[in-house]
C-alpha cells in the first residue's frame, strides 16, 4: 500500500518549471524531502519502492530520483543507518513488485549495499531478467565470490559469461580448473572471457592451455587470447612467479614469426 507521506516527499523531486531537463531543481525542498524520508526509517524506503512502476509504464521519474538521491546519501551515513536503508531495500526484492522495479532496486544496492545484502542479491544471479543487475551489484560490493561460485555450475549462456568474468574480476581462482575447460568451448565469447578470467586470477595452471588457445585461434580471437597470455605473464610476475611468466614470453617470442605480429614479439621482451 503506497504511503501518502512518502508520496508527498517524493513529489518534491518534481520540477514544475522544467521537469524534462531537470534544469532548476530546488535543493532546499529536495533535501527536506530526503531528511523526512530518512526519519521514517525502513518505511521511508519500502514506501518509495512501492511507488516504482514498470519501465513500460513510466510516470515514476520523481520516485526513482528520490530513491537514488537517498541511496547516494546513505553511503555517507553511519553504518547502522546505512544498513537500515539497505536491508529495507533488499527486503523489497522478496515482495511482489514489477521485475523492472526490482532491477532498479538492485542498481541502488549496487551503489550503497554491503555484505548485509549479498545473499539477497545472489538469489537473482540466475534470474532470466535480472542476472546482470545482480552480478554488477555483487561485483561493486566486492567480497562476493561465494555467490558467483554457487551460481557457476547452473549458469548457462550469457549468465555463464557474466559469472566467469565476475570470478576473474574478483581474482578468485577456486573455479580455475572448471574455467580452464571453457577455453575449448564452442562459444568464442566464452573462450575469450575464460582466458581473460584466468589471466586476471593469475592462474599458474592456465599457462599451457592459454598459450595453446592463443596459438590455435585466428583473427580477433587470436589477438585477445594472446593479450590474455601477456596479461597472465604480467600478473604472474607481480606474484613472483618468474619461471611461468618467462615461459609465456619465450613462447610468444618463438612463435610469433609473422611480420604482422612483430609487435607481439616486442611486447614479450622482458628486458
Amino acid at each position: 500500500m503506497p504511503n501518502e507521506k512518502v508520496a508527498l516527499f517524493a513529489a518534491q523531486f518534481r520540477d514544475p518549471k522544467d521537469l524534462k531537463r531537470q534544469s532548476n531543481p530546488n535543493l532546499k525542498e529536495m533535501t527536506a524531502a530526503l531528511d523526512g524520508l530518512r526519519a521514517m526509517g525502513a518505511k521511508g524506503v519500502t514506501g518509495l519502492v512501492a511507488l516504482l512502476k514498470p519501465d513500460a509504464e513510466g510516470g515514476d521519474v520523481h520516485v526513482r530520483h528520490a530513491l537514488h538521491g537517498q541511496a547516494m546519501r546513505a553511503g555517507g551515513w553511519p553504518e547502522k543507518d546505512r544498513q537500515v536503508f539497505t536491508k529495507a531495500l533488499a527486503g523489497t526484492l522478496k515482495e511482489n513488485h514489477p521485475k523492472s522495479a526490482k532491477g532498479f532496486v538492485i542498481r541502488q544496492l549496487q551503489v550503497v549495499g554491503g555484505a548485509e545484502v549479498t545473499t539477497a542479491l545472489g538469489e537473482w544471479l540466475l534470474d532470466d531478467e535480472l542476472w546482470e543487475d545482480a552480478a554488477q551489484a555483487l561485483l561493486a560490493i566486492g567480497g562476493t565470490a561465494d555467490q558467483f561460485l554457487k551460481a557457476l555450475p547452473k549458469a548457462k549462456g550469457k549468465q555463464q559469461l557474466t559469472t566467469v568474468q565476475a570470478l576473474g574480476v574478483l581474482k578468485i581462482n577456486n573455479a580455475a580448473e572448471r574455467i580452464r575447460g571453457l577455453l575449448t568451448s564452442d562459444d568464442a565469447a566464452l573462450r575469450q572471457v575464460a582466458a581473460r578470467a584466468l589471466a586476471d586470477m593469475a592462474d599458474t595452471g592456465a599457462v599451457v592451455p592459454l598459450l595453446k588457445a592463443a596459438d590455435t585461434s585466428k583473427g580477433f580471437e587470436r589477438i585477445k587470447q594472446t593479450g590474455a597470455c601477456l596479461q597472465l605473464a604480467e600478473n604472474l610476475l607481480a606474484l613472483g612467479r618468474k619461471e611461468e611468466a618467462t615461459r609465456i614470453y619465450q613462447h610468444l617470442r618463438d612463435t610469433r614469426k609473422d611480420p604482422a605480429e612483430a609487435y607481439i614479439r616486442e611486447a614479450a621482451k622482458t628486458d
Binding site: L19, R64, H68, A140, K158, T162, Q165, F220, Y263
Partner: protein, 414 residues
C-alpha cells in the same frame, strides 16, 4: 600543431569516405608491418585507416588522425550499419576491423563508453589510435588503456589538441617549469573554468517511455559494456552525453577540452587531485543533471575549480591566481630559470612516424579524464572525497570508490 575542427559536413564525409573505401579496395596498400624496421614505415608512406563510430564527431576525429599522414581509409564501422555492412568496407563489429592486417590507424568516435575497450583492443591488434574525448567513462578503464599502450608500444592521442598551442606559449612554459621543479610549496595557484560546460544542454531526459529499436541499430552492441537498458532515442546520437551509462554530461565532454592544456601548463600530466568537493542537488540515477561548482585540489595546493553558472551558488571560495617566478625565493628562481624547456610535444603524425609518444598521450589523457570523473563522482555523492593519485582509489569512502571502477557487462571488460 593545433588541429582545427573539420568543416566537412558529416553527410559529405560519409559520401566521400565510402568512395574512398571503394577506391582503396581496388589498389593494394602495403601494410607498414610488411617492411618491418623500427618505425615500420611502408615504402609508400601510406597507412591504412579506419573510423569506428561514424556519427557526429566521426569526420572531425578521422580527419584529425590523418593530418600530416598519407592515409587510405579502408573501413567504416558503426553499430547503426545493420543491413548495410558488407564486412569488407562497411562494418558493424569493430572486432572485424581490428583483425585486418592492412589497417594501421584507428580513429575512435563512438560514444565514450566504448572508447577504452576499442582503444585497448586496437593496441592489442598493433594499431595506433586517435580517440575522441572524453577518453573514458570511468577512471579504472583509463589506467587499463595506459597499460595496454605501454605493453604494446603503440601511439595514443586524445582527440583534443589545445595543449599543443599551450605548450608553445612562453608564459605557460615558465609556469610548467615552476610546477615541474617541485620548488613551489605550497602552491597557491588557482584556475577557474567558469561557464561553457554545457550543463543543461547535455543533461539527460529521464521521462521517456521505451521505444522500438530502429532496424538499422544493434542496440545490444551499442550498450556494450554498459547496462542493457530499454531503448529511447536520446540515449544515442549525441544526446547520449546526458546518460551516466555512456558519458558524464557536458562536464565530461567539454572539460577535457578545457583542462587538458591547463593540466599540461600546470605540470599535472602524471598525477591527480587529492581532494574534491562539489555543490550539487541530489543526482538522478540515469541522467546527468545540474550542478553548481566543483573544487579540485592537488597535493601541492594547486586548485582547479569548475563553476557551471547554470545552477545554484557561484564558486566564491578562491579567486583565480596564476603562478609566477616571483612566488619563488631568488635561489629557487635561478634554479627554475636554469631548467631546460620541456620537450616539444609530438603530433599524432610525428609520433606515428617516429614511434615516439604523442603530445596527448594515454597517461596525460587519463589524468585529465580522471579529473572530470572525480568531479562527477563528487557531484553524485555530494560529499567531500579524498583521492589517492598513486593507487587511483577514493580513500575512506567505499561507496564513492565504486564509481572509480564500476562493473562492466560481459563479455566486455577493460
Amino acid at each position: 600543431m593545433t588541429l582545427k575542427a573539420s568543416s566537412v559536413s558529416r553527410r559529405r564525409f560519409l559520401k566521400t569516405s565510402s568512395a574512398t573505401v571503394v577506391a582503396a579496395a581496388t589498389c593494394q596498400i602495403v601494410p607498414r608491418h610488411v617492411v618491418g624496421g623500427a618505425g615500420q614505415t611502408p615504402p609508400s608512406e601510406t597507412f591504412g585507416g579506419a573510423l569506428i563510430g561514424v556519427g557526429g564527431r566521426g569526420p572531425g576525429t578521422y580527419n584529425g588522425m590523418c593530418r600530416g599522414l598519407n592515409v587510405k581509409q579502408l573501413a567504416l564501422c558503426d553499430v547503426k550499419f545493420v543491413g548495410r555492412a558488407d564486412n569488407k568496407k562497411v562494418y558493424t563489429d569493430f572486432r572485424r576491423v581490428l583483425e585486418r592486417k592492412d589497417i594501421d590507424l584507428i580513429a575512435i568516435a563512438t560514444p565514450p563508453h566504448w572508447h577504452a575497450l576499442i582503444s585497448i583492443a586496437a593496441a592489442e591488434a598493433g594499431k595506433d589510435v586517435l580517440c575522441e574525448k572524453p577518453m573514458t567513462r570511468f577512471i579504472a578503464e583509463g589506467r587499463a588503456v595506459v597499460n595496454a599502450f605501454k605493453r604494446y608500444n603503440r601511439v595514443f592521442q586524445i582527440g583534443t589538441f589545445g595543449r599543443f598551442d599551450a605548450s608553445r606559449d612562453r608564459g605557460n612554459i615558465i609556469t610548467h617549469k615552476i610546477m615541474r621543479s617541485g620548488l613551489l610549496k605550497p602552491c597557491e595557484g588557482v584556475h577557474i573554468k567558469a561557464g561553457g560546460l554545457k550543463v543543461k544542454q547535455w543533461s539527460g531526459d529521464p521521462g521517456l517511455l521505451p521505444q522500438s529499436v530502429p532496424g538499422s541499430l544493434d542496440w545490444d552492441f551499442y550498450c556494450g559494456p554498459s547496462p542493457l537498458k530499454p531503448y529511447v532515442r536520446p540515449r544515442t546520437g549525441g544526446t547520449h552525453r546526458g546518460y551516466w551509462d555512456y558519458e558524464g554530461g557536458g562536464l565530461s565532454d567539454m572539460a577535457q577540452h578545457h583542462f587538458d592544456p591547463v593540466q599540461w601548463t600546470f605540470g599535472k600530466d602524471d598525477t591527480s587531485p587529492v581532494e574534491i568537493e562539489a555543490h550539487a542537488p541530489p543526482p538522478h540515477p540515469e541522467c546527468t543533471g545540474m550542478w553548481g561548482w566543483v573544487e579540485l585540489k592537488y597535493a601541492d595546493g594547486l586548485t582547479f575549480a569548475m563553476d557551471s553558472r547554470e545552477w545554484g551558488d557561484r564558486y566564491t571560495r578562491k579567486k583565480e591566481r596564476g603562478v609566477s617566478l616571483n612566488d619563488l625565493s631568488p635561489e629557487n628562481r635561478k634554479k627554475v630559470e636554469a631548467m631546460p624547456d620541456p620537450a616539444k610535444l609530438l603530433s599524432f603524425a610525428e609520433a606515428v612516424k617516429t614511434r615516439g609518444q604523442a603530445g596527448g598521450h594515454a597517461e596525460a589523457a587519463h589524468r585529465c579524464a580522471t579529473m572530470l570523473h572525480l568531479a562527477n563522482i563528487a557531484i553524485r555523492v555530494r560529499r567531500k572525497i579524498k583521492y589517492d593519485p598513486v593507487k587511483e582509489e577514493i580513500i575512506g569512502d567505499p561507496e564513492a570508490n565504486r564509481f572509480v571502477n564500476p562493473p562492466t557487462r560481459a563479455p566486455w571488460h577493460p
